[in-house]
């Protein structure tokens, strides 16, 4: 009597959603699986600790790993304070034509191809500021690319914080600074963490911008003014310019993915520790 009629549209939708998900997950699994399959044999301690030999066909990637981490460190050190300050300015201190102008230019910047950033970084940092092909130039160019992304995620996180807390803080006679540090930023910390992860991902994946700024010298850097080859540049070089470098390229790609995961994990842990400790002290 109450037999449910078959709702074909519902069945179809369910199937479609499942298929789409399966496709996305499958692609990702294929990619990682392929990397592991081809790169696993290369992955050992010697590979991580040796210098590259024979244009990278043999030996390891130690100097490249060090350069990558240094470039990322420079980029993060520039992005974090500048990005946080700009996001706070946009969400807490201004509301009008200027803010909208800044937001619009950030959105455009976020969509600019990385090769353009590379040329810009080369012109500004390498030539005009005289830093040459160096880790400084590469890191700062990456910072220019990460900032739009980091600022907009952080700003939307801050804007999503309810006004009740702003008014509550003001009604308790808290200064703007105290409200920001004690209440608003901790409350926005999930968004800040997400922005940070996206930015790190973008930085580690970057190749084009770094070829023009940090160069591709594969020696161990002795200072931040040295040129340094990033992992992504190394992979590009091995697979495009070096015949017989495929195995090393796979190994490097696997290391890059693992590095990305480890660094993201550390970044998430640190942000949570730093910002959320105020929310739930141990």
């Amino acid at each position: 009597m109450f037999k449910q009629p078959a709702r074909y549209s519902d069945v179809m939708l369910t199937l479609l959603v499942w298929l789409a998900t399966l496709l996305v997950v499958g692609l990702f699994a294929w990619l990682v699986g392929d990397l592991i399959l081809h790169g696993y044999s290369k992955l050992n301690l010697a590979f991580l600790l040796d210098v590259p030999q024979n244009a990278g066909r043999e030996g390891g990637i130690a100097p490249i790993l060090v350069s990558t981490l240094l470039i990322l460190a420079v980029a993060l050190l520039a992005t974090l304070p500048l990005g946080l300050a700009t996001a706070v300015y946009l969400s807490e201190y201004t509301n009008g034509a200027l803010a909208n102008g800044i937001r619009m230019s950030l959105n455009i910047l976020a969509g600019v191809p990385s090769i353009v950033f590379g040329l810009f970084g080369n012109a500004l940092f390498c030539i005009w500021l005289g830093m040459g092909f160096s880790i400084w130039s590469g890191g700062l160019t990456l910072a220019c690319m990460m900032l739009p992304l980091f600022i907009s995620t952080t700003e939307s996180g801050l804007s999503a914080v309810t006004n009740e807390w702003r008014h509550g803080a003001a009604a308790l006679g808290l200064s703007h600074t105290a409200a920001l540090w004690q209440v608003l930023l901790p409350a926005a910390s999930p968004a800040i963490t997400a922005g940070l992860m996206l930015s790190i991902g973008r930085a580690l994946a970057e190749t084009a911008a770094l070829i023009f700024t940090s160069g591709y010298v594969d020696r161990m850097p002795t200072s931040l003014s040295d040129s340094g080859r990033a992992l992504s540049v190394h992979i590009y070089d091995l697979s495009m310019n070096v015949t017989g470098g495929d195995a090393s390229a796979y190994g490097s790609a696997l290391v890059l993915i693992i590095t990305l995961m480890v660094i993201s994990g550390i970044a998430v842990g640190l942000t949570n520790r730093f910002l959320s400790q105020r929310i739930t002290p141990s």
């Binding site: 009740e164 807390w165 009604a171 006679g173 105290a178």
Partner: protein, 286 residues
């Protein structure tokens, strides 16, 4: 319609706004000492006047209820007492607001100190996403209380004052947002009390709570009488009648909020001198 709020406010000294019990206890609300003096106050947002020409004296140690329909400027009056209107872009205040004889609108005034002295409780409980303890400690620290022992003592006293101590003493370090709505609101009151204010502004503090929690908070508010000057906005007329010594009735005339009648709570409810008040308190209008 003619509005004569000034004359009604002055005629109040002749009637008695306290009970025999208060008198026996020598309560502060027995002697009308003006704590907050408001004269010809108008508040406008973006050039649109929402509250016009309000004059009233709020007496020390008394509970004064602001009643009237939504949108007639009660919250605006409340927020102009601790200059929270500053936070709303395009807000303007005109007229005189003196607290303990000090001009609240003085540009030289330290607003942070003013707000410490004049605490505020909001309609929706707004504890910070911190632990219960840190909700009270953090504002204290920001106001210069750094000593461990004193912080501890102040947290305990504040929680005891709002009757929350026995409920949360074992879980002071758990998130405040895990408390129930009524507990959260009492925590917010404790947070304000810990700063040792002289005045508490309450903006419909019970309207977001369930009936039982509402009764608990109402009893708490009642217990604050004599120790603090309380100004409370409420839509619950029975509540106003139960807790308040004085009541001020607001009404919209031509989209602008005005003070219609101000006086001793009981006389305002039982023998209102204005037709609008009579219609509102008996439920005919509003």
């Amino acid at each position: 319609m003619k509005i004569n709020s000034n004359t009604t406010s002055q005629s109040e000294t002749s009637t008695v706004p306290y009970t025999l019990g208060d008198m026996e206890q020598g309560a502060a609300c027995c002697i009308p000492v003006p704590h907050i003096e408001v004269e010809n106050l108008s508040v406008a947002y973006q050039g649109k006047i929402v509250l016009e020409d309000v004059s009233l004296n709020i007496n020390k140690g008394c509970i004064t209820a602001l009643i009237g329909p939504s949108g007639c400027g009660k919250t605006s009056l409340l927020s102009s007492l601790n200059r929270l209107t500053d936070l709303i872009p395009g807000s303007q205040m005109q007229g005189k607001v003196h607290i303990d004889g000090v001009d609240v609108r003085d540009p030289q005034l330290d607003v942070m100190t003013l707000r410490r002295k004049v605490g505020m409780i909001f309609q929706k409980p707004n504890p910070f996403p911190l632990s219960i303890r840190r909700n009270i400690e953090m504002p204290l620290r920001e106001h210069g209380v750094k000593q461990r022992g004193e912080l501890e003592a102040r947290v305990t006293t504040a929680l005891q004052d709002v009757g929350l101590w026995d409920e949360v003493r074992d879980r002071l370090d758990t998130p405040a947002l895990s408390l129930s709505g009524g507990q959260q609101q009492r925590l917010c009151i404790a947070r304000a009390l810990a700063l040792e204010p002289a005045i508490l502004l309450m903006d419909e503090p019970c309207s977001a709570l369930d009936p039982i929690a509402s009764v608990v908070v109402e009893e708490l508010i009642h217990s604050l009488r004599n120790r603090y000057t309380v100004v409370i906005v409420t839509h619950n007329l029975a509540q106003a009648r139960r807790v308040a010594n004085y009541a001020a009735f607001f009404w919209m005339t031509g989209r602008v909020g005005k003070l219609i009648e101000f006086g001793r709570c009981q006389s305002l409810f039982d023998s209102p001198s204005h037709d609008l008040t009579a219609a509102y308190v008996t439920g005919v209008s509003g």
